[in-house]
């Protein structure tokens, strides 16, 4: 837990894409803070706006859509910053890793070239020093015989190894915040845990904040301090992981939690939230989750619940929140 000023403040972030004249509200009114060294989980189904939120923070979305709201980095508004200035923050202060290690490295350049490229862009290190730092970083992320692998190409690495390389590249310039966009989704289960451990231990060691996007509440439970649950572009519940998992208020959070199999006998059918998320082109007038919700009432269909603060740092957007007793699910 952090008590000093947050390093990243996101206020009322909205990102809208348009396709054929139809507006697609991918992210709506998203607000959260990340403190120094804090690990925040951003959870939700595919298409809930998690990745777009991350990309909007770094200004990747504004080329393709309309982004409004405030993104403050160390108190400085970066959401309206020109590309030229933003470039100094990207990679040096805030780094990002992607879901697909197979495509996130340039297949034509050696791993060493890609590592030193970041250093060249953001540090004053000389040629030899960059090489040393590159070896040090590869070593740091657990790649054996780092020096000899610098000359190798990405296709000579396995998926887990590539993700390690990606992490090494992202962390080379000592960023203070890492945006991790489902960094383990494309990996084998055995490698997933290793990569997560790696990210967390590095974050701890380097006092780096992390926003971890995932659809796996199990991962959040193990790794994060705070969590924000997103649905159809909005945050529907947020708070500390302990509180949210122990006493979930939003029915969607409960659905997600029940989707993680826990102590079930073999061959029982796994739970899934009924229905599918709404299309962004045709969001319902009321609560976006209402059509799939067990607690649905008349009010849910006509009006949209706002994110109400429940207690310090804890909020949920629901007219009929789960009773506290439901908390035993956690």
């Amino acid at each position: 837990m952090t008590n000093d000023m947050p390093i990243l403040e996101v206020r009322d972030l909205c990102t809208t894409f348009s396709r054929g004249g139809v507006a697609l509200p991918a992210v709506r009114d998203v607000s959260f803070n990340v403190g120094k060294g804090e690990v925040l989980g951003l959870v939700g189904e595919s298409g809930s706006g998690k990745s777009v939120t991350l990309r909007s923070i770094l200004g990747l979305s504004r080329r393709y859509g309309d982004v409004t709201g405030d993104v403050r980095w160390m108190g400085q508004d970066i959401s309206r910053m020109p590309e030229r200035k933003l470039r100094q923050i990207r990679g040096r202060d805030i780094a990002m890793i992607f879901q697909e290690p197979m495509t996130s490295l340039n297949p034509l350049l050696t791993v060493g070239m890609q590592l030193t490229e970041t250093l060249k862009a953001h540090t004053d290190l000389g040629r030899a020093a960059r090489r040393d730092r590159a070896i040090e970083m590869l070593d740091h992320v657990g790649i054996p015989s780092a020096a000899s692998r610098l000359e190798e190409y990405p296709h000579q690495f396995s998926g887990g190894m590539r993700q390690r390389v990606m992490i090494a590249i992202a962390l080379a310039a000592n960023p203070k915040l890492l945006l991790a966009d489902e960094p383990t989704t494309a990996l084998d289960v055995t490698i997933q845990a290793q990569i997560l451990d790696l990210i967390l231990s590095l974050a701890d060691e380097l006092h780096m904040g992390v926003i971890l996007v995932t659809h796996d509440l199990g991962v959040v439970a193990q790794t994060c301090e705070n969590v924000a649950v997103m649905y159809a572009g909005r945050i529907v519940e947020q708070g500390s992981v302990r509180q949210v998992l122990r006493t979930p208020r939003h029915p969607y959070t409960v659905g997600l939690m029940r989707s993680v199999p826990q102590d079930v006998p073999p061959r029982t059918q796994l739970y899934s939230v009924p229905g599918t998320p709404p299309s962004l082109e045709a969001l319902p007038a009321g609560c976006a989750f209402a059509p799939r919700c067990q607690n649905q009432t008349e009010a849910c269909l006509s009006a949209r619940p706002t994110l109400e603060t429940i207690s310090e740092g804890r909020a949920a957007a629901c007219f009929n929140p789960m009773a506290i007793a439901q908390g035993e699910v956690a």
Binding site: L86, R90, G91, M96, E100, T103, S104, H155, M161, I191
Partner: protein
Amino acid sequence: MTDITAISAEATPPQKTKLQLALRKPGFLIGTFIIGVSSLLALMPGVFAPLDPNFIDYNAVKQPPSWAHPFGTDMLGRDSLSRVIHAYSVNMQMAILATIFALIIGVVVGALVGFYRGIADMIFGRLVDAIITFPFLVLVIAVVAVLGPGLVNMYIAITLVGWVYYARLMRAEVIAQMGNDYASAGVVMGYSDSRIIFRHLLPNAITPVIVYWMTDMALAILLGSSLGYLGLGAQPPQAEWGVLIAEGRNFITTAWWLSLMPGIAIVLTGLGFSLVGDGLADLLRPRG
């Protein structure tokens, strides 16, 4: 840790197989051989041609192929074989000069509009539509008609029209490459646009352009000879295949070899470039 190293060792494919595989394909080998020989003839025609291509011998006019003149002689008694060989210099030069500037312009413009999109891309799209609507040859002839006949003007004309095809290809490939996370990663790492475009996207996107280039060189020779035939490209007495075919046209019934031999040279060289392009397409297919 040990299991990971084992996996990565296993995932390392042997490096040279692609080249070995391509070299084992007969088509690629034949194509390389043809282009190799053609280049040799183009670089030093004097070494291979038995006679001066412009040496006129009125005592040996329109002679059929013989040991003295394997390809026969033309209406001025010039040795056809020597003229066909000397034409290699001009026609191979066409393959390069008529395409290389189109390639460079097309690659740069295509990469830029593919990366930035927006208004420039829309204008580019209209321009492509407009140019592609016309048959290539008609447009080139129109430009040459304005500039005047001659080799240099022909190169300018072909470049003015031809770059569009490269740019179109490059643009599509750059857009496809931008779907890969390494492009976003470049932005996220704070790299400059030019670095992302020219160091990361371009090398990954250029493969189809290179393959098309090979085909285009064959087309350039064909187009250059066509213009030579029509009197808009190389000018007589320069030995150039199109010019040679045009010279033999009036005697096609009595001295068929005059048009046939340069025709065969065009077909062979074109085939060579196409086979090399085909082989390159396999060779350059991106690794996994």
